[in-house]
Symmetry: C2
């Protein structure tokens, strides 16, 4: 009954005969043309210095002639790891993150890495999905924003030896590598600055504080620094994302509540909205109140009044994250789990305070 005695002379029709090819020109074609083995071509592509110069140039010529483009998918599979870095941010519409991603893309592209991107819209569930998706590409590293993640996300990442960098926020509960600064400290700086200007009736104008946990931390830092100075600040909230519109709404709401003489904002975009609304109402800044933003966005130097703000060195974050990712990938030994870089933040005093 077994099929063990198949004695038919004709070779059984083999299944899976005509599969679709992904590429027309493969490494083997280059090898053939350059009259070397595929191994040598592969080696040349990965470590040109290990191939004799003459052989190298022959291969180079063959690649050009055939227009060969290496297949990263196959390469990634064979090498058990792809040259992809997955970056997950809350939102690209937010200038900070757009900037960071942009800077990292430029730096990593130079090292032959590609960027897979995802945005969470501040949802931990969405982040979890994105991390799962990212992992399925066997990335060289995963870069997350902030330290606040779903438990499942942490578990998934822990079960994996992919380097993980959490950026834009520092703290103790980091998964692996951590680059950023303390948002509570930034909030504190804002409060102390306003107080140093003699302001005492203070409020924090916050957009989307429930979701944007980093803004919430700045708010909390602001609060405690005020309390420390014997001042009880107000927090005015708006549930929409930070925008100039939100800034206008928040100022209106604050003015309806009381006579404040100092405002710290979620970020510079909100602060700009405050400036606009004040202009419309004929309120003079900083005569009537002092205003401080966060982020040092470009327009802050040029609006009228120019914005006092706190600059979070986004470029330093991008630079450090990139360097650490590369160091980790190259197996540098001193970049251990728990490695942390504080990039700090500096206050930039301008016209609005």
């Amino acid at each position: 009954m077994d099929s063990s005695d198949v004695e038919e002379g004709s070779p059984a029709v083999v299944p899976g005969r005509n599969r679709r090819r992904m590429q027309s020109v493969r490494m083997v074609d280059v090898a053939r043309l350059a009259d070397v083995s595929p191994s040598t071509v592969s080696l040349y592509l990965r470590r040109p210095s290990s191939v004799a110069p003459h052989t190298g140039s022959t291969i180079e010529r063959a690649i050009k002639e055939l227009g060969y483009v290496p297949n990263m998918v196959a390469g990634g599979l064979a090498a058990a790891g792809s040259r992809v870095v997955s970056i997950i941010v809350p939102s690209l519409r937010n200038a900070f993150f757009a900037e960071t991603v942009s800077a990292m893309e430029a730096l990593l592209a130079r090292q032959g890495f590609h960027i897979l991107i995802g945005h969470t819209e501040y949802s931990l569930e969405r982040e979890e999905e994105l991390v799962r998706a990212a992992l399925s590409w066997a990335p060289a590293a995963i870069v997350l924003t902030g330290l606040n993640h779903a438990d499942t996300t942490r578990t998934m990442l822990a079960a994996n030896r992919t380097p993980v960098v959490e950026m834009w926020e520092t703290g103790d509960a980091s998964i692996d590598i951590n680059v950023g600064f303390s948002h509570a400290e930034v909030g504190g700086m804002a409060a102390r600055h306003l107080i140093s200007r003699g302001r005492t009736r203070l409020a924090f104008l916050g957009a989307r504080l429930e979701e944007d946990t980093r803004a919430a931390q700045r708010c909390e830092g602001f609060r405690s620094a005020c309390v420390e100075a014997g001042i009880e600040p107000q927090v005015v909230r708006h549930s929409a994302p930070a925008s100039t519109e939100a800034g206008g709404i928040l100022l209106a709401r604050a003015l309806a509540q009381g006579a404040y003489d100092g405002f710290a904002c979620s970020n510079d975009t909100v602060a700009l909205g405050v400036v606009f609304e004040a202009q419309r109402r004929g309120i003079r800044i900083p005569r009537t109140f002092s205003l401080i933003g966060f982020g040092d966005l470009e327009f802050g130097s040029f609006c009228d009044p120019s914005l006092t703000t706190i600059r979070p060195s986004a470029d330093l974050i991008a630079k450090n994250v990139t360097e650490l990712v590369l160091a980790r990938i190259n197996g540098e030994p001193d970049i251990e789990k728990g490695y942390r870089v504080e990039v700090g933040a500096s206050i930039i005093v301008r016209g609005s305070s």
Copy 2:
């Protein structure tokens, strides 16, 4: 759960072979636990409806229990095509493109696609590299910005059957699919609007026109519409990227050149810079001059005066690009090479004119 090194009993006693595993849990493990063949697991993952409900739920349970994450790299290789869409934009710092990428990412993620991103900084050589890199991932589609590409880029893409969408600009020389609008027409609209306001001494304030070919087209459209109306406009240039700072510089430069009464700007950010500079100089807008921007960025409604602008329906671009990409991937027959969607642009008249 998973130990870091894999030494599951495998009969690999063959001449010292030990490669590194990419994953600890593979599809075969899920199959084993669910007591089905790997094929069935694969089928379930790709077309759940083709698997008996009971089998499906058994597999589902096994996946959960093992924490299995499919390997897209292996899947992509086997299926001759990955679920990646590569998007190449000039810059993520530019709000338009950040917005578009963001919208597309959200829409495509819903369909199980991932976004590989690159930015060219307006360099055609860089774009070429990025396209080459993109192709090496065998993406489901490639999305480019604009119609202006290096010859080699065109050749590479032509040698490939990957769907290509060029967005944000329409014209005749498109590679494959084209979604956008005519920038010359936008420039014309701006000119005609200023003229309709009785303005006759007109100038275009342009940032980075040498590189940003779309801004250059708006400028050219502006010019010809002016000429058509018997007006000879001036073009004031600044070689730095569009920013509020550039707006200030351009206004200063224009005022030093002559007495203009109408300005069209590269985009809203530049226009905002003009507003700021005018404020500092005590110039009243629109009493002294009318101002029109481009892009309908968020702050435009809220600054003082609010900005008259031209809105390019970025969301429509993102929506159309995404839909066309999906249609093409699903082999819809009527989306042929040369398919074009004009999303148009509409003028939004506000306080600055």
